[in-house]
């Protein structure tokens, strides 16, 4: 990388930390499970910082992603050799490591200037998992106890580290995460030979139990230290292996239910290495597929959907042209149209074009009188989409023409916002909703 070169030639103290920051943020950037949400914590006299439940984005990088935490690795030296990973042992890349002191000073100075909401600390496995976890504990203890940092800390649990060390990390951090990375055991065996399903799920279960235990402790003893108060999250790589969306989404649902995870993140695989087991280096990252998975994830968490309603063994992958909610609606036209003035909250949430907020507003507003299409617009309903699925006082929207072309164009609209990725579509078979299907659905029902 160009910047690193400039820096190395000059060599001095400023440059050293510069160099490290560049290397260690560059190798952390593919980790997307990086939010600052989940906990409200007031400032304390004598400490620096606080935490806000909703999380705060401090900037957005050129790829449009939120920058909230100083996302770095403790070190990018790694004894593991995961094929998809840029930091794998066999990769020829510059290596560096922060000292706990450097990391603490960087965090404090960035935090004081309001650049960041806190620290996201991950690490390559140096020597062995336990040694790595100890290094991370040292850095966090320095930050919390000597620098009195009261802001947000998200730490990665190192797979294979002792549970005692994981517990100590959890008492210093707000959120903890362990990346599953590959959605099936088979993929793990092929691409991450040093990791097993067990080595990932065991600490995940441990954290989830500890959080549970800690909750009862807090009830019993008011001053019990809080263990990972903002919960745990994880990340799955999408597109490095042939796993289907159905596998990924079912796994996601299981993680929310079984391990009480706060978030599951998806990361479109960005080919960084040449390997016969992986997609070719010039493969475009499956960004639309990642987007569809996030949409479905929202449907699971906030809209009352279940994974099996969205995908099944016959349709194992999302339609890239229509979002999952529209897709579900088009496959379930017998449930529509719904009458806005009478429909239940659960049903309103299932109408394309109505979101969590507008559904709530409809419920509130209709107590004061019947709603018509004009009032729905004021409430923030996206009529362009919703019009095909709703009635107001028994009537469909005035002037609504249901022709196959206009309908499908409207419902596919977000595809047009991402025209540069259309070539992705050729990877998949025929979209499983055809224009004819839509026409039949719509004209048959409304």
């Amino acid at each position: 990388m160009y910047i690193v070169k400039v820096v190395i030639v000059r060599g001095s103290i400023i440059i050293d930390i510069f160099d490290k920051l560049t290397i260690l943020s560059d190798s952390a950037k593919y980790d997307v499970a990086c939010t600052s949400s989940g906990i409200d914590r007031k400032g304390k006299s004598g400490s620096l910082g606080s935490a806000a439940k909703a999380g705060i984005c401090h900037s957005f990088s050129a790829d449009g992603r939120c920058i909230s935490l100083l996302k770095v690795l403790m070190t990018n030296v790694c004894v593991f050799d995961c094929k998809y990973c840029i930091n794998r042992e066999s990769n020829d890349t510059p290596r560096a490591a922060f000292t706990p002191q450097e990391l603490a000073e960087l965090t404090i100075n960035f935090y004081r200037r309001n650049y960041i909401e806190g620290l996201f600390l991950s690490s390559g496995v140096i020597k062995n998992p336990n040694y790595t976890a100890e290094q991370m504990i040292k850095a966090l203890e320095l930050l919390r106890n000597v620098y009195h940092f009261n802001g947000y800390i998200h730490v990665k649990a190192i797979p294979g580290a002792d549970s005692e060390l994981i517990t100590r990390l959890g008492l210093l951090a707000d959120r903890m995460s362990i990346n599953i990375e590959l959605p099936s055991q088979e993929s793990l065996r092929l691409l991450a030979p040093n990791k097993t399903k067990e080595s990932i799920l065991r600490p995940m279960g441990l954290i989830s139990n500890k959080i549970q235990e800690n909750r009862t402790d807090l009830v019993k003893y008011r001053h019990a230290s809080r263990f990972v108060p903002a919960g745990q999250s994880t990340q799955l790589i999408v597109g490095a292996t042939p796993d289907t969306d159905h596998t990924i989404l079912t796994l996601t649902e299981g993680l929310y239910k079984k391990y009480g995870l706060k978030r599951v993140f998806f990361s479109a695989y960005m080919p960084v290495v040449e390997n016969s087991l992986l997609p070719a280096i010039d493969t475009k990252p499956p960004l639309i597929r990642e987007h569809r998975l996030y949409q479905a994830d929202w449907l699971l968490r906030f809209y009352g959907f279940e994974a099996k309603e969205l995908l099944d063994a016959r349709n194992p992958n999302f339609n890239l042209q229509v979002d999952p909610k529209c897709n579900w609606a088009l496959n379930n036209m017998d449930k529509f149209p719904v009458e806005i003035n009478r429909a239940s909250h659960e049903m309103l949430l299932r109408v394309p074009g109505i979101g969590v907020i507008s559904a709530q507003r409809i419920i509130t507003a209709r107590r004061n009188g019947t709603l018509d299409f004009a009032s729905l617009k004021k409430l923030g309903v996206v009529l362009k989409r919703a019009q095909y699925f709703i009635t107001c006082q028994g009537k469909i929207m005035e002037g609504l023409k249901i022709t196959s072309d206009s309908t499908i164009r409207t419902l596919m609209s977000d595809q047009y916002k991402l025209p540069s990725y259309q070539e992705q579509l050729s990877l998949f078979d025929e979209p499983f909703i055809t224009r004819k299907d839509v026409q039949q659905c719509l004209t048959g029902q409304i």
């Binding site: 820096v7 943020s25 400032g43 806000a52 900037s59 050129a62 790829d63 939120c66 909230s68 004081r112």
Partner: protein, 287 residues
């Protein structure tokens, strides 16, 4: 109910003054079609009625809001007054008239024009203030932290609690260039004071170093293959960029008081960093 009147109220532009306009309207049984703050020029056609600010009258109106409507309504009115909405006086006025008529129910009348517009204006204010919680950039001068913002709405009162809590042991100032007001916090006391213009001294080498490190981090953390300028622009509109260290392309970094050698290095790096920003905006890879 509002058509057909041509009464215009003029008031002193304070919140109390606006409350007095509401008082006046009930006392004289009239509905103004415009409530004009001093900042808006009088046209030759309007013969406006000057409403004197009387804190007793203002208190009567203000204190009756939680009793006769609800405390949420009081909060909404208070926030509404901080928005940049052009007609905020009239919106608040109409909202209160309606509220005094129907009571607490007014907060659920989401399809009413006045309620809907006032809530929308307040959402604009609160979302801008939330953005500033993240986008504000402090520079360290000696012991003090200084930030400059150019918000559309008057967000400082909303930001005060957050920053005073977070930086409770620090001294800081947030200067609102649009409204010429600064929030000043030191030794556990916060104050909002009027400030006309602000000239900042040159930054020292420590500040310069952390600015460079932050720029470097910002440029490194983006993934080249996912460059998406439109998405970034939606989430972080360009009007915020002026005051953000990482997007500052007007080479302010040249003015360091650094030693001669370090200065050349700093310039080199800052040029490189700027180049990175420019290339990424155009969606190209850094050479």
């Amino acid at each position: 109910m509002l058509d057909g009147t041509d009464i215009v109220y003029a008031y002193d532009g304070t919140f109390e003054g606006l409350m007095c306009c509401v008082f006046e309207s009930y006392e004289c049984k009239e509905i103004p079609c415009l409530i004009r703050p001093p900042s808006v020029q009088q046209t030759i056609f309007d013969t406006s009625k000057w409403i004197e600010t009387d804190s007793q009258k203002a208190d009567r109106v203000y204190n009756s809001i939680p009793v006769r409507i609800s405390s949420e309504a009081q909060e909404l009115v208070k926030l509404g007054f901080l928005t940049c909405e052009e007609n905020k006086e009239l919106l608040i006025f109409r909202f209160l008239r309606l509220g005094f008529k129907v009571g607490g129910k007014v907060m659920t009348m989401l399809t009413d024009e006045a309620v809907c517009s006032l809530q929308k204006a307040v959402r604009h204010l609160t979302s801008e203030s939330h953005k500033y919680k993240g986008f504000i950039r402090f520079s360290v001068f000696g012991e003090a932290l200084v930030a400059v913002i150019e918000p559309k709405n008057y967000v400082l009162p909303l930001l005060s609690a957050h920053f005073c809590d977070r930086y409770n042991g620090e001294k800081f100032m947030i200067y609102d260039k649009t409204h010429s007001v600064a929030l000043i916090y030191q030794s556990n006391r916060a104050e909002l004071i009027g400030v006309e213009g602000l000239t900042l001294p040159n930054v020292d080498s420590m500040e310069a170093k952390y600015r460079l490190l932050w720029k470097q981090f910002y440029n490194t953390i983006a993934i080249e293959g996912r460059t998406n300028p439109r998405c970034r622009m939606t989430l972080m509109p360009k009007r915020y960029w002026n005051q953000m260290t990482e997007l500052d392309n007007t080479n302010t970094l040249v003015n360091f008081k650094l030693t001669e050698t370090n200065k050349t290095i700093a310039n080199d790096i800052s040029k490189t960093a700027d180049k990175t920003v420019r290339y990424q905006i155009q969606g190209k890879q850094v050479p």
